[in-house]
Symmetry: C2
Subunit: 314 residues, 2 copies
């Protein structure tokens, strides 16, 4: 029904070493390789320059941060311009003295830095001490018109929040990119850990379905030691692309480095949304409760015509 | 970590005939049977009293509607009291002359009518002409404290909207029940129709994950002829229960009537939410855009500290 609009996207899933220069060099080589295979938009995994240092709290790791624009941004811009590809790169941003963010840079195919997305939802769980390192994003949810598609970028923990995907899709994102660092703590893989991986895939596939758009999740892979206190994390790889019906159309290994390429048809977005017109039917008159922490109190206001959803019982 | 709190829920998936009395009689017999097997909360499928008349627009079908409370509500109340079970029943409500809703009744185990949920999101697609029959709900999203659990009830098309699940879970729902009528139009099953079924399962499983609660979807089954204009719908059954990690813990046939029973541990809700504390980290300062139809315009207001998400580009 809709015109076909094919593009190729590339997802660089890699194993990080303790040497940032090594990680940057290998990731840039991988971007070059997927571009040679036709990828037009390429995303790195979350914090691709380093190991996942958030396994424990150590002030020395702030040395890994850099300003944006800065040296790594510049390298990615030069590479994007040379290859004529759009690059989504996930960096550890030093914004000011003592103020750091988990930030993605969005670089157009001519090398222009279109902007940044600062991770809005920051986790803090055993082995994932991100609240220590990163201030929550203060730019909200965003999209960018790149040469090849209109992109939304969200980062890792954001993927568990339907609100983030919705607010990004509502701005016209055709693809939601999720640079990610997720894996199993010691013992988890054998203790039902495949359920976690399945939940991770399911929630992101659901964002594709609910919003009739593509989703691309780019995870790191391999074991990273976290020191005696926290053990290690086995990052589970499994980077994937889901289409607007939530079908996985490309998927990477759970065990190895892999640069995944997916050919996707952006025309399917319109087709899916005409088939399932969720945007037509959203009850925006009844959603104001979503800006509350919980609806455990009597209503403070009632919108005309709709009983306030915070009313707990009949 | 949390105390185990086991309950049994029952889902009555049936094949509707053209005789409402027959459907009511058989559904009540099925409720009696699952109660005998230990079910404490039982849900019917959507509009269980009749065939899915919304396949086309015909004013004669309004004769199927009845007031709430009314004769069928009364029968369900009497049955709930006799069996000491909670019943969620999906009915065609005549609210006033010319004003109809697609409404669920929530009946406690002592037979008390706790309240109603009027379907908020109303579909209108070929074969599903619900906007002709049903006014959109005007009560918002709701929960009820029943004898055995705190329930949220949503209906069919609601299941595609993460906002509905979230607003119900935010009121403390431990289980989200979705009475449903979904299936394939002629030809769809063979033309990739399993993707639709998979999307339907996936989006509902995602609500369980995002909200750390149980989800129970109760669908009808079997072919219903819709007349020469619309052909038929093959309702795909497949009623299921998902746990707070989104795992399907019980699932019914795609081809036959089946009363499904699932033993679920409500203690898992707290366990899942401590493991994945999404409610802690929701960015309620940045969600106000969710009450917009689309974020395709420049911002009209900016919340303090957070750039308005409706700003389309950098």
């Amino acid at each position: 029904m809709e015109a076909v609009r094919m593009i190729k996207i590339g997802l660089v899933q890699s194993r990080a070493t303790v040497e940032p220069e090594d990680n940057i060099r290998r990731t840039m080589a991988a971007i070059r390789a997927v571009a040679a295979r036709g990828a037009q938009i390429v995303s790195t995994q979350e914090l691709f320059c380093s190991r996942y240092f958030c396994q424990h709290e150590d002030a020395r790791y702030f040395d890994l941060a850099e300003p944006i624009p800065g040296p790594t941004t510049k390298k990615l811009q030069d590479l994007a311009r040379e290859l004529q590809v759009v690059i989504v790169g996930s960096l550890f941003e030093e914004r000011a003295a003592g103020l750091y963010h988990n930030t993605a840079v969005i670089i157009d195919a001519d090398g222009a830095l279109l902007g940044t997305y600062r991770k809005m939802h920051i986790p803090d769980d055993p082995g994932f001490s991100e609240k220590y390192y990163f201030a929550p994003g203060d730019q909200g949810f965003r999209v960018w018109n790149t040469r090849y598609a209109r992109l939304g970028v969200l980062v890792c923990w954001d993927q568990w929040f339907p609100e983030a995907a919705r607010l990004t899709a509502m701005q016209g994102a055709e693809i939601l990119f999720y640079p990610t660092a997720i894996g199993w703590l010691p013992g988890e893989r054998d203790e039902g850990g495949l359920k976690f991986l399945d939940a991770w895939r399911t929630i992101q596939r659901s964002h594709a379905i609910a919003n009739g758009c593509y989703v691309a999740a780019v995870n790191r892979v391999g074991r990273e030691e976290g020191g005696e206190a926290s053990g290690f994390i086995d990052f589970w790889g499994g980077s994937f692309v889901a289409d607007p019906l939530g079908q996985v159309v490309a998927e990477a290994s759970m065990d190895d480095e892999q640069s995944l390429i997916a050919s996707i048809d952006l025309g399917q977005i319109t087709t899916a949304r005409i088939e399932w017109p969720f945007f037509r039917d959203r009850r925006i008159d009844a959603y104001h409760g979503l800006t509350q922490r919980l609806l455990d109190q009597r209503p403070s206001r009632v919108d005309a015509g709709v009983r306030d959803p915070s009313s707990p019982t009949d």
